[in-house]
Amino acid sequence: MGDGGRGRGLLIAGATLVAAIVLLALLAPYLTPYDPDVTVVARYTGPAPPSAAHPLGTDTLGRDVWARIVFGARTSLAVAVLAMLVSLGIGVTVGLVAGYFGRWLDTACMWIVDLVLTLPTLLLLIVLATVLPPSLLTIPLVIGLVGWTTFARTVRGEVLSLRERDYVLAARALGASHAWIIVRHLLPGALPSVLALAALGMSGAIGLDAGLSYLGLGVPLPTPSWGRMISETQTYFAVAPWLVVVPGVAISAAVIGFNLIGYGLLDLLGAPRT
């Protein structure tokens, strides 16, 4: 069980990291004079090490690494947020419906959740990313479609206990509609834990996006993405380690940031860590 002090500390540390990344993403055009997609060296002769003009060096196409990092922050955050919305949408709906109506509907929903959970995540991601046409929306959709099960289970669990509370029973006795009860009474009750999970899910989505990009299935070329930056340059690790280290640090920072927020929220809520 958590104590408020530690939860707050985690939350502040995470929020600081995430805020920094969000600022990078928002201010990207002001943080670099370079177009992240364009070769900026006059003559390409291999990746160049950090210099005054290019503080993080240039990559295997002669593009500015710092520019790709800051614009890559946009990609990573956008993918993570969209993936999270898809997961939330599906997961919370399924959880509310299953938990509230119970009986055969609950059994069916949880059966589907179990089914999705048994599928190997990365394999499912690869299949979906290969089948769906490549676009900026495909990857978040794919990650969202794989990641909703935790939300469904958590929300269902919350709803199972909430629906027996007096105020819910009272609402039902007064003849409130199912929709009203779900939206007005059950959803707000489940919201705090959903928020904590969403933060944890964000870090998961960033990691998955990096993994997919690493496998060559990420957002369309040449959109900068941190995972792709690593996969494009991994064979250069012995020659130009900064090409791999810089996006690696960025991915770690984002994942750690969102994780800290998630655990901080869970601690504040007094929920057990999963």
């Binding site: 090490p49 950090p50 210099s51 503080p55 494009e232 064979t235 012995a238 020659v239 380690p241 280290v245």
Partner: protein, 534 residues
């Protein structure tokens, strides 16, 4: 730069300084005199198992590299592109150019010990033409008299292939074909052992190949390794020097490089990341192998699909792409391509360079063609690192002239399948390597309108070009033939179905113990004269 950024930059400079220095090449005996030594096993690596070991069915570099170890053809190439005797000691051509008489070596034996006779040559060429074999090489020999009847099942043998005596084969063509000897030098025309084919069947022959080559297959553990051992009956006295060749399967290019550096492989390609350091390193210099190939890498445009049906658009793309940068992206391994034919190809004209890189002019031409606002299109490319970097370089060049390019990365077999479908692929990145040193192998195969849906993947069709190609086809090798093909090439370039990008050269490194290993401009390296020192 803020103080924090400067600190970060300093940190990264430190990381850069920590870049791992280039490991030395494996240690081995110094180069120097001494006669070739018999014995030893050459250790090679391959990413995948070969597609097949049946010469009638292999049409890729990996399969061919094994077929050259296992089989022989009537004629073959010397170290360059000249045809020399192999299983045939000599040959005569009739004055009308339709009849060939080949005198066979008296001492060529299959690796089973049996002497090769003329009937084996007839068996092998007819097997290639059998419809059940589905050989991609069949088209090269469809000019043999009676080939069509045989393929259609109307005849039990090919009239134009006669085993006149045990040591004499007579081949008759319907029309004279100046390329016929080159076709006979393709691995498709390898002589296979009929006894083995009959015993194991046509399909299983790919796993149990028997020929007259310097080596024979000892073991093939699928997905793990192939082991070849010396053919004790090989007809060239004293060869091969090697006891055998062992190929480890499942070794990616990067892994092959590491294994080479550890001394576990005798030959390897050089990864892009390491290329600059390797060629600059005096320790590696004596071990470097280089060859130019008869290859052109190009950007293909689908002439049957808008907006590339407009020649103005195709010309504009020819001016929009910075080929020098592309060459830099492949570590300078090759030369920029301005036309279709590669250097070293007869008929190559170094002055042919109709389109200079000029974004401004490209933009103006696009505007004149009604695309002042640009357009969006899709480029199909294989998903390997180098190709995708080339694709992204082209993508930024085209963006500069207003064309929004989406890149579609696919596997190579999928790309081959897709480009054959009309209306499917607007732009694609591919390469073509000549099977034999004749311009027709580029110009007719890739641009004759009759080859749309096989290898003419730009769906280019121009009656004048067709006519020039048809006129050139029967001409004997020589200035008149080259001139006709040159006219065709000039005309094709004016129609611009391609943006020629570069002619790559291939590089490899050898273990210091490997001697006499030579890369060939047309074929995988032959191994019978390779030896290892200690």
């Amino acid at each position: 730069m803020s103080a924090r950024l400067r600190g970060l930059a300093a940190l990264l400079c430190l990381a850069a300084a920590c870049a791992v220095p280039l490991d030395p090449p494996p240690a081995g005996p110094p180069d120097g005199g001494g006669p070739p030594r018999r014995g030893g096993v050459l250790r090679l690596g391959a990413a995948d198992d070969p597609h097949t070991l049946d010469p009638a069915r292999g049409y890729d570099t990996a399969s061919w590299s094994f077929e050259l170890m296992l089989f022989d053809t009537l004629v073959a190439y010397d170290a360059g592109t000249n045809l020399v005797p192999a299983l045939a000691t000599s040959w005569e051509q009739s004055p009308d150019g339709r009849h060939y008489t080949f005198r066979l070596r008296p001492d060529a034996r299959f690796s089973t010990g049996r002497l090769l006779v003329a009937a084996d040559v007839k068996f092998s060429l007819e097997r290639l033409l059998k419809p059940t074999i589905h050989s991609q090489g069949a088209e090269f020999f469809s000019g043999l008299e009676g080939a069509a009847d045989f393929t259609a099942g109307r005849a039990r043998e090919v009239r134009g292939i006669v085993a006149a005596a045990p040591d004499r084969v007579e081949l008759t063509l319907r029309e004279p074909d100046p390329l016929f000897l080159h076709k006979l030098a393709m691995p498709f025309a390898s002589v296979v052992d009929p006894e083995t084919v009959v015993r194991v069947g046509d399909d299983a022959f790919a796993q149990h190949p028997v020929g007259t080559g310097p080596f024979r297959l000892a073991e093939w553990v699928y997905g793990q390794r192939l082991r070849l051992e010396r053919n004790p009956y090989y007809f060239r006295a004293g060869l091969p020097y090697l006891d055998g060749v062992e190929v480890t399967v499942g070794v990616s290019d990067q892994l092959a490089w590491f294994k080479y550096q550890r001394g576990e492989l005798d030959l390897a390609g050089i990864p892009s990341a390491e290329f600059a350091r390797v060629v600059a390193d005096p320790r590696y210099r004596p071990l470097l192998l280089r060859r130019t190939t008869l290859t052109t890498q190009y950007l293909g445009m689908n002439c049957a699909l808008p907006p590339f049906e407009a020649v103005e658009v195709r010309r504009a793309l020819n001016r929009a792409i910075d080929k020098q940068r592309l060459l830099a992206l492949i570590d300078g391994r090759g030369v920029v391509a301005e036309a279709i034919l590669p250097p070293d190809m007869p008929g190559y004209d170094p002055t042919l360079a109709p389109y200079a890189f000029d974004s401004g002019r490209a933009r103006a031409e696009l505007a004149a063609a009604g695309h002042a606002d640009g357009f969006a299109t899709t480029l199909w490319a294989t998903r390997d690192d180098t190709t995708l970097r080339i694709a992204q370089s082209i993508q930024q060049d085209l963006r500069a002239v207003g064309i929004a390019l989406a890149i579609k990365p696919v596997d190579f077999p999928a790309l081959l399948e897709a480009v054959r479908r009309p209306g499917m692929v607007p732009l694609f990145l591919m390469g073509w390597e000549a099977d034999f040193p004749d311009p027709s192998n580029f110009l007719a195969v890739l641009f004759h309108s009759r080859n749309r849906e096989t290898n003419n993947n730009t769906f280019f069709a121009d009656p004048a070009v067709d006519r020039l190609l048809d006129e050139a086809e029967p001409l004997p090798a020589g200035p008149e033939r080259w001139q006709r093909y040159h006219e065709a090439e000039v005309r094709i370039l004016a129609q611009a179905p391609w943006v020629p990008l570069f002619h790559p050269a291939s590089f490899a490194v050898r273990h210091p113990r490997v001697r006499n290993y030579r890369l060939h401009p047309l074929r995988p390296a032959r191994l019978e004269a390779v030896w290892v020192a200690w």
